[in-house]
């Protein structure tokens, strides 16, 4: 699927580009990645719920990442690890979203299974009448 291709291309591009992150920037990029992951999971969940809105998804992706970086920067200035808050929140949301996605997928799978067995039962039933 296109997603897998996208992942592979991303990795490839990351290896190719010669720019190396400075030790300062590593912290911010880390928190940005966590925020991005959260918005990806949120987007998948919304799509499965037929609630997917492309604008919300894209804006959420960038805003979350930037907000997380900003929070980390302020935390560094204040001497408080605000990045911890971002990590906790995003982690919780990732687990929540992934759990919901799992439920939906499993329900759909089980419904499909039930439908098939129902159809089989009803067919044999009609055959008997």
């Amino acid at each position: 699927m296109i997603l897998i291709i996208a992942v592979l291309m991303g990795i490839f591009a990351g290896i190719i580009v010669p720019y190396n992150l400075g030790s300062e920037q590593v912290i911010y990029v880390a928190i940005g990645i966590v925020a991005a992951l959260d918005s990806v999971f949120g987007g998948v969940h919304a799509h499965l719920n037929k609630n997917f809105n492309i604008y919300i998804f894209i804006s959420g992706f960038f805003v979350n990442a930037l907000l997380a970086m900003l929070l980390t920067y302020i935390g560094n200035m204040l001497g408080v690890s605000l990045s911890l808050a971002a990590v906790v929140v995003f982690g919780v949301r990732i687990f929540n979203n992934s759990a919901k996605i799992r439920h939906i997928i499993l329900k759909k799978y089980m419904q499909k299974k039930n439908n098939r067995s129902d159809e089989g039962v009803s067919q044999t039933g009609s055959a008997e009448q």
Binding site: L3, A6, A13, S23, V26, A36, L37, H47, I54
Partner: protein
């Protein structure tokens, strides 16, 4: 399930960016993994520094000890130097006293000539034996004795330094001094107080008067810086030995 193309496209873009960032992040973290080692090295450096400081203080203490030792040796060698200087001074004084060095000082030059009448056979109007008018060893000895008695510190006869073992002895028509034959005129150089020396010779009835009876002519000259050469003969004793080292004295 995942059919909506909008969803797929946007998700693909986001996932692309995400994987790109993850790749960078992993590279960055790996390249900066060496940095924690630097802070770990601080401990190593600290202990190394402490070691160096301890070594340094030990070396400083050793340096002090060695300096004190050197000072000690210097002091001892300076003492030894002084001792050797003392010995040197004593040696020089002894050599001076023994007549083994050239000396210079104020004094007189006494010239003693045979009587002019020796050739003519007449001395002071008296006809004399030729033997009479020449200078004899005992007369020279008298002169030397007089000069010594008046404080002469160095004496030489015809450039032969008179030392304790010097002989002045008749040897035919000449005189033997330090085993060297010397003839008239005789020149005695004496270093001492010129006034004392000259007046001692000139006292009435003194050396000059006595030899004057025989017509021997004596001239005395004064000098401010008289040079007298050193004794140049052998100085080995065959019989006399140092008696100061617990030798049996009789």
């Amino acid at each position: 399930m995942i059919k909506n193309y909008k969803f797929q496209l946007s998700m693909a873009v986001v996932v692309f960016i995400l994987s790109f960032a993850v790749c960078w992040q992993i590279k960055g973290v790996r390249s900066h993994k060496s940095e924690p080692e630097i802070s770990a090295r601080i401990n190593v450096l600290q202990s190394e520094l402490k070691n160096e400081i301890d070594k340094n203080s030990n070396l400083t203490a050793e340096n002090e000890t060695l300096k004190a030792q050197i000072e000690n040796y210097r002091n001892r060698s300076a003492l030894a130097e002084d001792t050797s200087k003392l010995i040197q001074t004593d040696l020089k004084a002894a050599e001076l006293f023994a007549g083994l060095t050239d000396v210079v000082g104020p004094g007189i030059i006494v010239e003693i000539k045979d009587s002019a009448g020796v050739r003519s056979g007449t001395v002071n109007g008296f006809t004399m034996d030729a033997n009479f008018g020449i200078v004899h060893d005992d007369q020279l000895l008298m002169f030397l004795n007089e000069l010594r008695a008046s404080g002469a510190e160095a004496l030489s006869l015809n450039d032969e330094r008179i030392i304790a073992t010097s002989e002045i002895r008749c040897a035919g028509p000449t005189v033997s001094v330090n085993n060297t034959k010397k003839g008239a005129p005789f020149v005695i150089r004496a270093i001492g107080d010129p006034d004392t020396l000259e007046s001692a010779l000139r006292i009435s009835g003194g050396a000059i008067d006595q030899v004057g009876l025989y017509g021997i002519e004596v001239t005395v000259k004064r000098a401010d810086a008289l040079n007298i050469g050193k004794y140049t003969g052998a100085s080995m004793f065959k019989y006399a030995a140092d008696a100061s080292k617990g030798g049996a004295a009789e």
